[in-house]
Amino acid sequence: MIPSPVFAAVHVLPDPPLAWWTFIISTVVKMIVVFTVYMVGVAMLTLAERKISAWIQGRLGPNRVGGPLGLLQPAADGVKNIMKEETLPAHVNKPIFMLAPMLAFIPALMAAAVIPFGAPWDSRWGRIPMVIADLPVGFLFILAITSLGVYGIVLAGWSSNNKYALLGGLRSSAQMISYEIAMGMSLIPVLLLAGNVTLNAIIDQQASMHIWNVLTLTISFFIFMVAAFAETNRLPFDLPEAESELIAGYHTEYSAMKFSMFPISEYANMATSSAMMATLFFGGWDIPFTTQDNTSGVGLLMVLLSILIFAVKTGFFIFVFIWIRWTLPRFRYDQLMSLGWKTLLPLALAYIVIIAALLLALDYAGLQRGWLYGLSMLGVNAVLVFIVFFILDRGRIISPAYGRATPQQISRLRAVTAARSHLTAQSGD
């Protein structure tokens, strides 16, 4: 009989229910705080993006409002966007045109509701979880809600009645659907390891194994990160808004606040993806090398410290998003599709099989989910990482721009050309 995974941490045990008024007050406070932090954070992200891009390119970046760091730049941008004219071109499908920015914006914010951002606080009113809605469906909810964001983009492209906007919307939907599969598949090893989809259970599993999932499930993290870049339409996957080809893609026809909803939702998605990465693969709010925050009786100070840890981890991934954007050039469309379908999806499927077999073997060996379990997974992972990054990644992950044609390919091309020349000669007569 396979022993079912047992965790040392306490959060898996059902918490005593809160009094209804404590629940309502704490939830409302958490909602207000999270919403405010999110919106301010997104505003500061636009500044961070501009500053980091400037520094990477050897420039200074915005520094005219709010001191040398330009701290008031987001406020200035906001005022500018509110004061600008709301254009409503005559050829657009008005109801959908108005609806699309909201459809992009709302799911981006909704996903933030289920991400735990701190250790549960054992206050005098009971144990208050530091998450707005502690849903039992966990990250499935996030996957479902963030994939709704594609509607905003595709409807924006469609309703604009503009060929470039439509192409942007189409690209976005194709891209998001392709990478969603790889993203979902990359999370199955996490689910196998934790035996639960709730994010707090995944954090507990990482804390009880004393090892982050990024070390035990490295390939999953790699696939998830690549897919998250594609899902948030960030470079190197920002084909929906490729300036050089599509002027600005799906938001070409938008102006003022309706336009700025799209960047806001993009940054909010970025923050959500970063929080997901931190939670699923980097231990979430768990303070590394300590166990105090995982036991009962967590004081306010410990809660604040765990929130800080979570913010640092999330901030790091947001920085990685920006960093990658100013490092890599944009993918070609066929490279994007072949990476999603021909590399990431088979890789994720193979990884599921390997990890499932490994977990089964370790469970049969009678190992508890602890140090030894994590170390043996780490060992297997080191081998897999070597195979993927040093053997598979030899011009095979991204298809090259060109390659030497084989004699068979050349003869096939010649045959096709010959057949076509016959046709054109006929039609030319």
């Binding site: 990477i56 890599l328 990054f389 030899r394 090259p400 044609a405 050349i410 091309l413």
Partner: protein, 165 residues
Amino acid sequence: MAINVKVLARPVEEVSYVRATLKGMARTFKHLFDPDKVTIQYPEQKKDISKRWRGTHRMLTDETGKAKCVACGLCPTVCPSNCIKLVPGEDEQGNRYPLVFEIDEFRCIFCGYCQEVCPEEAIHVGRHYENSEYSREGFVYDLERLTAQTHPVCEMWDPADPKGE
């Protein structure tokens, strides 16, 4: 594959994406903390321009504040773009002076021939580049405006010191 396109063999065993990306990220990270920025904060900070910069003109004056020009007519003659308008006058002592001296800065090609040809070292091209005006007429500089300019003037090219060292 188009015909007659030279296809180079790619060294597939040396090609990578992930490792090359990490290398690129290391490079951009180095630049992130590089204190050496290329930005010049323009209105406050200005770029040093060459000593031989040829910008909008300036007419030098003598001690009494009169233009040094003797209206010899060499500069309108040498000017390749025909942008100098000179009407000479003569006072009671027989000294020639310009009655009208106008330079159309829009026609001017800033070759500096006027400065080179001037026997009195009166007209100069200047080391100056901020010239915006609200009207086209503003770009026809008359004598009063040319003498009122205060910016430094161009140093002529010296064959003995071709690099200006």
